[in-house]
Amino acid sequence: MQYRSQAVAYWYFAVAMVLFGLQIVFGLLSAAKYLGPDPLLYILPFDVTKVIHTNLLLVWVLTGFMGATYWMVPDESRTELHSVKLAYVQLVLWVVMGVTAIIGYLFRFGTGNKLLEQPLPHKIVIVVVMLMFLYNIGMTIKKSGRFTTTEGVLLLGVGSAAVLYLPALLHYENYTVSIFYRWWTIHLWVEGVWEMIQASFLAYLLIRLSGADREVMEKWLYVIVGLVFIAGILGTAHHYYWVGVPGYWLPIGGFFSALEPLALVGMAIYAYTALRRSGVAHPNTLALHWTLGSAVFTLFGAGLLGLAHTWPSVNKWTHGTLITAMHGHAAFYGAYAMIVMAMITFALPSLTHRRSEQGTAVGFWAFWLQLAGMFGMTLSFATAGIAQVYLERILGLGYLDTQLKIQVHFLMLVATASVFAFGVALFIWDFFRFQPRFETAANTGPADRSVAQMAT
């Protein structure tokens, strides 16, 4: 750790870890309900466990983004954070918002609007937290006078994420119009500005982990951002299939979302060539696993599996089936869960005592178990989804009868999800089992040395 204020990242990461663990608990509960009958039907029904599962995902990934930003910006701008106190106040406010929202969901206190279930007071707190965060980061950069492309892209990503949340605060009388604007937040987050955030973390990590030249990396970062937005903005149209909007969104959605994998291919090539050409220049092999893993799994989950059902003529049959769950799980995990874990793994050796620089054995087990588990879950959803499409949508077997016939895939889902959960548990345990340390790089470890070298 080069700068004392980077220590705030530890607490953000710690909160993210706890919420990640909880997310998986509620995910497992939801998956088990597919096997049924459900002994918790009147205590914790599926709609409650599911809404908590998806909301915790959003909250922990955003917590991870904020922590990773607080870690990265001092490094990039070579300065202390503008206000450590503000960062902690922001974290407390954020946690209170998150925890009360989750408790509220247990009592069905939510808006019932998919993924935007947060009640209005919580939404306002989210906006306030985002503004505090942007202010703090903006002032840090301004004070330092050093503004790199990598952090520029990150800042723009985080800033746009805040702006795009605003349509979610409004109320729409027409259900179709409210769907239309819900995707301005959700789609333009996950297939737009969050990808910017992911790409800038990727650039940051690659610049430090490989010997790649900053100028070259940042040049290509621009290309990736351009590709993300060419495809991503008009690609919103693939959420406008069959919801009551004009028909021209169908071909637009088909064409532009078919282009969406381009940026993801770009990211994977980006990571590969950086390492191939420049070699590994950092001892943290585990962080390298997570970084490359994120680039590759994004290409698989978001790119390939998204493409699999994005054409209107295919989507007509697969829309609203478990095929969507297949794509959703692999995409979110690869793009966002993995990049946050990459940043955490990179930062952790200098944020904790006595941790091996290369990554611990437990850490490697966590990586491979999660990967295997998530791959298995993706396959379970895919096989269940394909069977569902043929039986229910094409042959016209009833929904409930179809679900009975695909039970075996739900067994497979629960089994592979358990492997995944074990990997997550190991990651969390590995995070907490070493004491945090908050000294700066005066007693420099190898990680800090190479950071210092790269920065000069």
Binding site: D47, F180, G396
Partner: protein, 288 residues
Amino acid sequence: MNKRQTRTFAIAATALSSLVFLGLTLDSHRQFGALTNAENITPEVTHGKDVWHKYNCINCHTLFGEGAYYAPDLTKITQLRGEQYLTAYMRDPSQFYDEQTHRRLMPRQNLSDTEIANLIRFLDWVSKVDNQGWPPRPILVTGTSIPGMDMTPLQQSIAGTETTGTLPPGARPVSGQENPIALGQAAFGRVVPPCSACHSVAPGVNLAGPTLAGIAARAEQVIQAPDYQGTATDVESYIRESIVAPSIHVVPGPMYSSGGQSFMPDTYGKDLTPEQIDQLTAFLSTLK
């Protein structure tokens, strides 16, 4: 390309895409009213939408294919099931489905009668939104468009029926205490010979007998037509008449009748109990 050029590319690409997107958004707003029949969004429909949100329906069901995948899609449900059915169902789902059999059940929501009525109005508004004809084929909640597909392979084999019974694994076993509509739904597949052997409840699926989807709406037209010979005065009495005396009014088509005699067995009048006929009528008259 140098860094400046790639930056220009990123900015130009984003700006251009945003511009096109905003333009199309404006145009969509111009069309939302007509596509969604916005003039039909009455205060009741709006209240129904609030009910939909309040009870977190979207985190099990899908609407327009969006939501969770744990319960059936409801986009066109009001075109498949009438108000009486949906009302009875929402009062107590366990009368219609059995958790042990289906491995999942909708928890009772304790909705007020106004909430139920307005929720149905909202769902009916949804079902009429012009959404490019999705779903391409009706999504059934239970049962099957093609008879027998919901049976186990053993039940379909010649030797199997004696040991496994004729109920498909997905059918709700009934005790006789349920709502008459639910009992009628069960009887549809259970009476001898089963109605489901020749009739589908999926729209457009005509088997040995015509589809019964939409029979309530068609019955109203039939009894008002000048060539109608029967004595029925409303939907229920027409359905009852068709069960006990199928030849009084025959559905046109050489595959359904010959010389004015329907191919449907005329044995139901004496083989079924009056309660069973009442229950079948209650069920069939909810098929809109």
